[in-house]
Assembly symmetry: C2
Homo-oligomer: 225 residues x 2
DNA sequence: TCCAAAACCTAACACTAGTTAGAAAATAGG
DNA sequence: CCTATTTTCTAACTAGTGTTAGGTTTTGGA
């Protein structure tokens, strides 16, 4: 049995992780193959052994970014009992979305920074994946509405845009070592469902401060606003 | 009276507007002086008569982006009567924020695309301006809370991040000719204050479709999700 | 130990970037 | 019309871009 092409998956991932970090910091056009190579402890030419072009690399990064979120949310929803309420589903989806984008934060941020500059064909494919994810949320909201859990005047499409916008923005300010994902998810769900003036049954948020988190190089801050 | 330096403000603005559109589409690194020149019907070298460098240009674009929002929101708040409720202030601020980022959409989008790639010093200054705007919102929410309009468990900081995240994301999906800014603002305020399950007094959103809007070249879509 | 496959490196190619100096054109007041 | 000022253009320079061909080292099984 001749196992011909079996590129070391680990060094390929090293390149990919490095690419995500550089794309995250410098966007698509601002990223040079030489910078990625530096980050991965390689020379520029060597990258082409693993990926056949810069476009090939950014494609892989973009796909991982959205797929991590989609898979995580769908798994979380599937693991809920059939008896779960709309509220429970929404809260679970928010938590799953948050933990996914924090987990693969480099890829998520790289997407936000680079997607707008990427060649048309690449962006089109990724956008299709993202729209598909949007329809998952549309379904969650529609189900909850049908169950009578929402006021009749609620505009589900606008609500979805509102929720996903707020969630996607979290990567800009969320820093590990501060608030826990669970707390943020709970409060977000509470705002979306009960509103700020409503009488949500939400417990007060405990300001936990876990281990100070290793000081890795992090993305440039964009400010909360 | 020797009026020496009085550069035509109009052709300077032509360059600036062109720069905003190109930065919006290609980010900071992806934007070339030659592309800006093309958009402004000039040759690359001529830009340097109005702005002394690429960094000088992006700085101007970034500042306009955040200042338009800050000024518009503060003006809207100031125009309210002292008797205005917290809800009214929040709704007014949302509407003002939305109309500002739609109005100067090229500059706002350029900011979102380019800010992360811009040289440190430039970003730092702009980030300070943005944080300042965040504190305006913090004050709006704190006032409403003190007036007893919020449930006691509400976390104002998270709520602010949530609201501003959702608002900033609107530039990705809002297109003139569809929903009106007023409708979006009203529904957003309703979600934030009453929640989806609360019994807000919000009127049903009318799906108005005004004049089809001139077909200018628009930013590449990023998908709602 | 030997050797083929895998992984990486070197050095270069064609091209494009921001920027500049100086010439040319447009403009406006007298 | 003349001329001084403002505005734009031309043409180039240096530095850095993605990519490639071909050589070198490393690796792991026989």
């Amino acid at each position: 049995m001749t196992k011909k092409l079996a590129k070391s998956a680990i060094s390929q991932k090293r390149v990919l992780d490095a690419a995500a970090r550089i794309f995250r910091d410098y966007g698509y056009a601002g990223t040079t193959m030489r910078a990625i190579a530096d980050e991965a402890d390689l020379r520029a030419g060597s990258i082409y052994y693993h990926y056949k072009s810069k476009d090939d690399l950014i494609s892989a990064v973009l796909d991982i970014g959205i797929r991590a979120v989609t898979d995580n949310v769908e798994a979380a929803l599937k693991s809920l009992p059939d008896t779960a309420t709309g509220r429970e589903r929404i809260e679970a989806a928010i938590r799953a979305h948050l933990s996914a984008i924090i987990e693969v934060g480099d890829y998520t941020l790289a997407t936000r920074r680079a997607l707008g500059q990427v060649p048309e064909a690449i962006r089109a494919r990724n956008t299709r994946m993202r729209d598909q994810y949007g329809s998952v949320w549309q379904k969650i909201l529609a189900d909850a509405h049908e169950r009578g859990e929402f006021r009749t005047s609620a505009n589900l499409t606008l609500a979805r845009l509102f929720i996903l916008g707020a969630l996607n923005w979290t990567v800009e300010w969320f820093k590990p070592g501060g608030r826990s994902i669970d707390d943020v998810a709970r409060e977000f769900a509470s705002v979306v469902l009960d509103g700020l003036s409503g009488n949500g049954a939400t417990a007060a948020i405990a300001q936990e401060v876990p281990p100070p988190a290793k000081a890795k190089r992090s993305a440039p801050r964009i400010s909360a606003a």
